[in-house]
């Protein structure tokens, strides 16, 4: 099983002060070497929190249990030293907002070099600088020699995100966790940054966990998709199946709320209601108050993940849902 990069099983996360309420419940997922997996869900569905927990980036008020094995090594409950040696070298993270993810007082060169030198003590300053320069070339930043000594405020949003990507790939990690990497960027820049990320991951054989709420991004990038709702995974499927044969009513709702080219005049559909918080989780299926198919069993019993063709989904009605009308034109 050496091609399994990340193997998360039964991940539970609760925050101090929220007695018994878990923000993330029983999340299990795997990412293989070099694979791009997307984790989709609304804000607050637990996608970022789960990934941060794996990297040990949650505040002390978080209680994390379950298992997350990275190349066979357990990360949950691992010592600070172990986590520190892995984060930034074997597992890297790309944050959502490049405007705030870079330290305003340190030059770009310093911030890239730092990522290299933390994990390679024997690399000299000059060597690190040379490598930082090459990284700027790798992420296609023009005039890298000049840019190296500039500060974050002298870069545009897209360029800053390229710098953040350069930092992420500095140590050729096995896994990159990208948390909404293009959400804060202009639409025109989004595609460029995603292309870059895809190209770099392919080049280096890096696994990519792409956290997003944008199904357009999913379609263009991911091989497999996990859909999260209210702290749990409700569906896991190959990317084609997600768009062709969504098994969970929530996934269907997400797909319907995408704008469609053929009927632009129509008002966008949305999923009625709002997602629950960890403190106000309904009984039974967490999605039932917003689900048009909900029955009595949905209100009482929490559904388990079951197989439906090549997908798995947590829905009591799985097989008996009406066929999904394909209305999506994947970009």
């Amino acid at each position: 099983m050496s091609d399994i990069l990340l193997d998360v099983r039964g991940l539970d996360i609760a925050f101090f002060g929220m007695a018994g309420q878990r923000s993330v419940r029983d999340v299990s997922l795997t990412i293989a070497r070099g694979e791009t997996v997307s984790i989709v869900g609304e804000s607050g569905s637990g996608k970022s929190v789960s990934m941060r927990a794996i990297m040990g980036l949650l505040p002390d008020s978080a209680y994390v249990s379950g298992s997350a094995k990275f190349l066979g090594q357990e990360l949950i409950g691992a010592s600070t030293a172990t986590l520190r040696s892995l984060t930034g070298s074997r597992i890297a993270m790309i944050f959502q907002d490049p405007l705030t993810a870079l330290n305003p007082l340190l030059s770009i060169g310093d911030q890239i070099s730092e990522a290299i030198r933390i994990h390679n003590r024997d690399v000299s300053r000059r060597e690190a600088r040379e490598r930082a320069l090459q990284l700027l070339r790798d992420v296609a930043i023009p005039f890298p020699e000049k840019r190296l000594d500039q500060y974050p405020h002298e870069f545009s949003g897209g360029m800053r995100q390229r710098v953040v990507i350069a930092i992420a790939i500095a140590n050729k990690p096995d896994l990159i966790i990208a948390d909404e990497p293009t959400t804060a960027l202009d639409v025109t820049v989004q595609a460029e940054v995603l292309d870059l990320l895809r190209r770099l991951c392919r080049q280096n054989g890096t696994g990519l966990a792409l956290i997003t709420h944008d199904l357009g991004v999913v379609a263009g990038m991911a091989e497999r998709v996990y859909v999260m709702y209210a702290g749990s995974i409700v569906e896991a499927a190959l990317v084609d199946d997600i768009f062709e044969r969504p098994a969970h009513p929530y996934t269907r709702g997400l797909l319907r709320s995408l704008p469609k080219m053929k009927d632009q005049a129509k008002r966008l559909e949305d999923i009625g209601g709002t997602p629950p918080t960890a403190a106000s989780l309904p009984t039974g299926c967490a999605f039932h108050p917003r689900c048009s198919f909900a029955t009595d069993v949905c209100r009482k019993e929490t559904p388990r993940l079951n197989s439906y063709g090549r997908s798995i989904a947590a829905c009591h009605l799985g097989g008996s849902l009406p066929a999904f009308e394909k209305e999506i034109e994947t970009a």
């Binding site: 984060t87 930034g88 944050f95 993810a101 305003p104 500060y151």
Partner: protein
Amino acid sequence: MNAYRYVLRRLAGLPFLLLGVVTVAFLLSQLSPAEPLASILSERQLSNPEAVAAAKARWGLDRSPVEQYLYYVKNVFEGDLGISFRTKQPVIEDLAARLPATMELVLAALFLGVGSGIVLGVVAARFRDTVVDQLVRLIALFGSSLPVFWSGLAALSIFSVQLGLLPGPGRMNPRAAALDPITGFNTIDAILRGNMASFSDAVTHLILPAAVLGWATTGVISRLVRASMLDVLGQDYILMAKAKGSSGLRILFHHALRNALLPAITVIGYSFAYLLTGAVLTETIFSWPGVGSYAVESARALDYPAIMGVTMLGGAVFVLTNLATDLAYVLVDPRIKLQ
């Protein structure tokens, strides 16, 4: 923009500010009901009209206030602050002789106050809402609220009289051989002369007044740095630094503290000016022969030229401190450019 040109342009404003200070100080001296002749002449001479007329002519007191003002301003801009009624020395020489003592005290107080304030602020933020945090809060509270004339006496009583750890008031042991001044800073002069006995004498005399004077700064800076650190530690770039695999100490000092100190720079600059004024009380209690005690002695003697001189020195220090603060921002924060 060129830094030199910026500094020169800012310094060009200094004379105008000093003119304002002179004008206000002069008006206040005219408004005060005290008779300057009383401090120039003895009581017996005051009843002698000839002596009074001679003194008036000698000190220019027979002219109209406007004439006196214009004459004084002209002298000031020629670098002449007049002759002290009390010491009969040019005020500018008195100030020059006493300024090093004050600067040594104030800089030591600033160093102790800002240094301990930053360390305590970082510690309080790191151990937020624990006993350590509360302890720092207490230290800050006492520092900001205890008046120097009380904490100074208490410190002397405890550390000098009862415990005998540190010497009493004064700048040096009066029985020791005097240092030949180079910079006027006793600690530095002692090192330059290679005189270790004098150095330890100067340092031990300096510790108590500097600590007492700097304590208020410790309070202000530690509270400010704590709040600022908590804000910075919640920023994305700190999480990013953590995701890079930075150690806790590196995150705290390399990434967080520099950002957290930005708002502190203004307060540090302001503290310097504040300490100079606070030095009046501290110098009096610790018999420190600096500008502060000179100001007190001059005020008691109604020595107008000396008081005006001290006032102007204070104004100049404020302007220069503001300039230094602005320049410090440019050095520390790449986002700020000279305009």
